[in-house]
């Protein structure tokens, strides 16, 4: 038995299905029932039921790319705020190798970096690293904060959403999986991108978002809105894009 439909909004404690279904992310099993633990949208894949949250905190996972801010310099490491209940550390050795150097000559408090989560241990110590294409310190630009679970939506199917923003605003955009977005371009274009990204954040749970984003971009840029392409409304919906999540690592970089 299943008590809900795909993409239906649910809240904590809602009973979703009974035992013939599997309990996925955002759900839990109680007796013979699968219940939601979150406010979110139901995603049914075969017999597996998950709930995609509308609001969440970033929990670091090995391999993720994140945007972090240096909050402290300590003996042989930097401390970073990665928009998460768990702060991160960047060991000096990751930057200098075996060489002994002054840490604040490389990065200072307040610097914003693009990093990879190298390891998360049992006591939730988050080790960060800079080895990889495009990783390093940002210069200029602005930062925008979104809910981490909305990152796949901002990127869109095969990067369609983010590429549209980049193309129209001529800005560089980097999205961290921790929900921090860096945008750099002409200052007025940075603000256009900011408005659009905030709109995606607010409306991530609705369908037909790509068209609305395009219209908003065109309006803000003073461009004429082209005739809507003949396309059924239902082709693009939130949960489809969740499947893109796995590949949004490397290809976000620039």
């Amino acid at each position: 038995m299943i008590f809900i439909e795909d993409k239906q909004m649910v809240i904590p404690g809602d009973v979703l299905a009974d035992k013939e279904y599997q309990s996925g992310r955002g759900t839990f099993k109680e007796d013979d029932k699968i219940c939601s633990s979150l406010v979110g949208l139901v995603a049914i894949r075969d017999k597996k039921i998950s709930v995609i949250p509308l609001q969440s905190k970033y929990i670091p996972k090995r391999g993720d790319v994140v945007i972090g801010e240096i909050t402290d310099i300590r003996f042989s490491m930097w401390n970073l705020d990665i928009n998460s209940p768990y702060s991160g550390i960047l060991p000096a050795s990751d930057v200098f190798g075996k060489e002994k150097r002054d840490l604040n000559k490389a990065f200072n408090v307040g610097d914003v970096l693009f990093l990879r989560v190298v390891d998360v241990d049992e006591v939730k110590k988050v080790k960060l690293g800079l080895k990889g294409r495009g990783l390093g310190k940002f210069r200029d630009g602005i930062l925008i904060y979104i809910t981490p679970t909305k990152v796949p939506r901002l990127i869109g199917k095969k990067g369609s959403m983010i590429n549209m923003i980049k193309d129209e605003t001529k800005c560089e955009v980097v999205v961290g999986q921790n929900g921090v977005v860096w945008v750099k371009g002409d200052p007025s274009m940075e603000r256009v991108a900011e408005k659009v990204i905030n709109m995606i954040e607010e409306q991530a749970h609705t369908s037909g978002l790509t068209d609305r984003v395009r219209n908003m971009l065109f309006e803000l840029l003073g461009k004429e809105i082209p005739e809507k392409e003949e396309k059924p409304e239902a082709t693009e919906e939130a949960t489809d894009e969740e499947e893109e999540e796995e590949e949004n690592g490397e290809n976000l970089i620039q």
Binding site: G110, D111, V112, R139, D140, L143, R191, E194
Partner: protein, 268 residues
């Protein structure tokens, strides 16, 4: 109080914007964010207001109590202002007794109201030297998104204008209160406050949280409806020069006039 470290690129970007005559939310240097003001929101408080400047939100309550006057001013009532930066309002506010920011906010608001002569305190005297009305203004900061000073003064002004206190009569040297008969507080002046932040060498009105976080200095000017100055407070780590201060005063006149329109119009 927690410390927030501002990303260097945000600091640069906001400074550069201001240098180009712009702000991140498209406002001009003299523009306030949207202002929302509602009075009479707490029925248990004799006077109350909910004020929003942008996303900053403050609840203000005015409550009267009968008490003894200060010995050096036996024939005037008392106005006391207290503020709480409750941890609800910001991830950087912590529970505990009022810290220095909270005390500064309360004291600046208090000076602005008192020195402007907003309430005719002499009329709050019931029995000279023995019994006077004490009006407690409580500022409850519930959402902090910058510029608490102006919101606090606006909310305080509105709560005082909204306040109805019971009539107090003296019979045989005894105070008799009739809670069924309510009278407005004796409001004789209106005063508001206008805060500027110095960023990128310019003074901008009503700093948002991010602007406050990167500002070099701040100046708050309290002004009465007639254009006279009733309070002033300079803040921030960097200095201001004389010209900047005088220009801020000059701009405050026009800006406060517009701000006054948000106050309830029924009074006076």
């Amino acid at each position: 109080m927690g410390v927030t470290i501002i990303p260097e690129i945000i600091r640069e970007s906001l400074n550069n914007l201001v240098k180009n005559g712009e702000r991140s939310d498209d406002r001009s240097f003299d523009d306030y964010r949207d202002i929302y003001l509602e009075t009479g929101v707490i029925s248990k408080a004799e006077g109350s207001a909910r004020v929003k400047i942008g996303k900053t939100q403050i609840m203000v309550g005015a409550k009267p109590q009968i008490g003894e006057p200060f010995s050096d001013t036996p024939n005037v009532g008392v106005l006391m202002t207290n503020s709480e930066l409750i941890p609800m309002a910001s991830p950087d506010f912590e529970p505990g007794p009022p810290d220095e920011r909270s005390v500064e906010l309360a004291r600046v608001t208090d000076r602005c109201m008192r020195e402007a002569g907003v309430v005719d305190l002499e009329k709050l005297c019931i029995i000279e030297g023995k019994k006077v009305w004490m009006i407690f203004l409580d500022l409850h900061i519930i959402d902090y998104d910058g510029n608490l000073m102006d919101a606090a003064v606006l909310g305080s002004m509105a709560a005082l204008m909204d306040a109805k206190i019971p009539e107090a009569k003296v019979e045989d040297d005894e105070v008799v209160i009739d809670p069924e008969k309510k009278v407005s507080l004796p409001i004789k002046e209106k005063a508001l406050m206008c805060t500027f932040a110095k960023i990128g060498g310019e003074l901008i009105v009503d700093p948002s949280l991010e602007e406050e976080q990167v500002m070099d200095a701040r100046i708050s000017i309290g002004m009465r409806a007639d254009g006279s100055i009733c309070a002033m407070q300079k803040g921030g780590m960097q200095p201001l020069n004389k010209d900047e201060i005088l220009k801020a005063v000059e701009r405050t006149g026009e800006i406060t006039k517009k701000l006054m329109e948000h106050l309830p119009q029924n009074n006076q």
